[in-house]
């Protein structure tokens, strides 16, 4: 058994069986992470480079831990302070790194499609750690894995994705992943932050009313407002956004049921999510982070073992 893809560029390219294989493998890595020695020697002959052209805390640490716990050698690269500022191209940068006998690339880039472009020019498997406003596949996998862990299954569950859908790669990857696993998805947010024709294009429900969406949902995945990607203001103020779309205790209490609260991080406390909700028993935000390491170990394991690497 192996994945149907050579790179993990997006959930869009995956089959349902691929996602289930990742989960099945991640289940066992979760067990490894509970052991006194949280490390296996599987990738000890593999070197992985984490190429980050964009800031990251969770994803980068999570990938690095996953790599180290698989026994791989790890090199980190961030664009700031590198020769990128001297004008080196993406392909040159990565090819130079690969010529130092690096076997796999984990890349985050602010341009949508950057890893897809790179995959046409290099041999090594690439894991997309987030590209612009396109996809963040490992986040979607760990989100769905966390729902499966909390609710027993993803199939048939109702998931509301709340907030900045327009600029969120997490939203797009989550929609693909959840739909492939047979969940129902509603996206909710201000009209200016939800792309048009989303219902037809991706088969999701769209609403502009957060209470309606949460009353329907089993799970709410609350997204961060991505101010850094908004060139023109799409709502009047953070305070107004928070009043209309913020998930807070009062809103949740009015639902008469306990829904699961998720957030991919980093949280803007008091904007899209209030602190008392983020830190409540309903929240599985830290479980998401914990599962991220196991999911990334599974992805790296499956891609590394899918074929012979470093063909030189």
């Amino acid at each position: 058994m192996s994945l149907s893809v050579k790179h993990l560029l997006g959930i869009r390219d995956l089959e349902r069986q691929d996602i289930e294989l990742v989960f099945q493998t991640a289940d066992q890595f979760k067990e490894v992470l509970q052991r006194p020695i949280k490390k296996v020697p599987t990738l000890r002959d593999t070197t992985i480079v984490n190429v980050f052209f964009e800031n990251s805390t969770r994803t980068r640490i999570s990938f690095e831990l996953a790599e180290k716990r698989l026994g791989a050698d790890v090199v980190n690269f961030s664009a700031s302070g590198s020769s990128v500022s001297k004008g080196e191209t993406l392909i040159d940068t990565v090819n130079n790194i690969l010529s130092m006998k690096v076997d796999m690339v984990v890349m985050r880039h602010s341009a949508s499609g950057a890893p897809h472009f790179l995959s046409k020019h290099i041999q090594a498997p690439i894991v997309n750690a987030g590209d612009g406003i396109n996809e963040h596949p490992t986040q979607a996998l760990l989100d769905a894995f966390s729902i499966r862990e909390k609710l027993g299954s993803v199939t048939g569950k109702k998931v509301a994705i709340c907030g900045d859908i327009m600029h969120s790669r997490v939203a797009l990857s989550n929609i693909y992943c959840l739909k492939k696993l047979g969940a129902e998805v509603t996206v909710v947010g201000p009209p200016t932050l939800i792309p048009k024709h989303l219902e037809k294009a991706l088969g999701v429900n769209v609403t502009y009313n957060i209470r309606e969406a949460l009353a329907w949902a089993d799970v709410a995945n609350v997204l961060r407002i991505q101010l850094e990607r908004q060139n023109t203001p799409l709502f009047s103020s953070l305070r107004e956004y928070s009043l209309a779309y913020g998930v807070n205790r009062r809103l949740l209490d009015s639902l008469q049921k306990d829904i699961v609260i998720m957030h991919p991080g980093p949280i803007n406390r008091g904007v899209e999510l209030s602190s008392d909700v983020a830190d409540s028993g309903q929240s599985i935000i830290l479980n998401q982070v914990e599962n991220g390491v196991a999911i990334r170990m599974a992805v790296l394991y499956l891609l590394a073992g899918g074929k012979k690497m470093n063909t030189e």
Partner: protein
């Protein structure tokens, strides 16, 4: 196809292996059983069950170990293996471990298992119990301490252990 052990013989063999274990380990005070995933656990389930019947009132710690992440053929052209569950909820530090697998062939699985076990502690001793020992096929210096049946089979032949729980009947066969 040739039958090596039928259902009755298999039951007798498992009983004998259990008595041999009791002979060595007597009260099982410091002994733990570890079955190897995925195929060895059917045997280790039986052994554990039988021992608990023979020694009522003596709880014997029993775990299952998956060696997928410790294989020496990862990324060496072999098919990718999907891991099975590892379930060892006790420490093996200073314990007398009995590793249990169905067929001993090249010995590489056992080598991986020895590696994997170190991540759970340093056992006092490790013994190996197998149902079938294929002679003259070893690639590593590994030998069993308890053997159900020793057979000679050429490389092209496959030994299959069938279990009631999974295959509908108990039997050990050789396939050409």
């Amino acid at each position: 196809m040739k039958t090596i052990l039928n259902g009755t013989q298999l039951a007798i063999t498992i009983d004998r292996l259990c008595h041999q274990l009791i002979e060595t380990h007597l009260h099982f005070e410091h002994t733990v059983l570890i079955g190897l995933q995925p195929r060895g656990i059917y045997l280790s389930d039986r052994i554990h069950h039988t021992l608990q019947k023979l020694l009522p009132g003596t709880p014997i710690p029993y775990g299952k170990l998956d060696i997928t992440f410790y294989r020496d053929d990862f990324n060496k052209g072999a098919a990718l293996h999907v891991p099975s569950e590892t379930d060892i909820n006790f420490s093996i530090e200073n314990k007398r471990v009995v590793l249990i697998d169905d067929v001993l062939y090249t010995g590489r699985t056992i080598r991986s298992a020895l590696d994997a076990m170190l991540d759970f502690g340093r056992p006092a001793t490790v013994e190996l119990l197998v149902l079938i020992d294929r002679r003259f096929t070893r690639q590593l210096p590994i030998q069993p301490d308890y053997t159900g049946r020793t057979i000679d089979a050429i490389i092209s032949e496959k030994v299959r252990v069938l279990w009631q729980e999974r295959d509908g009947k108990d039997e050990v066969i050789i396939l050409e």
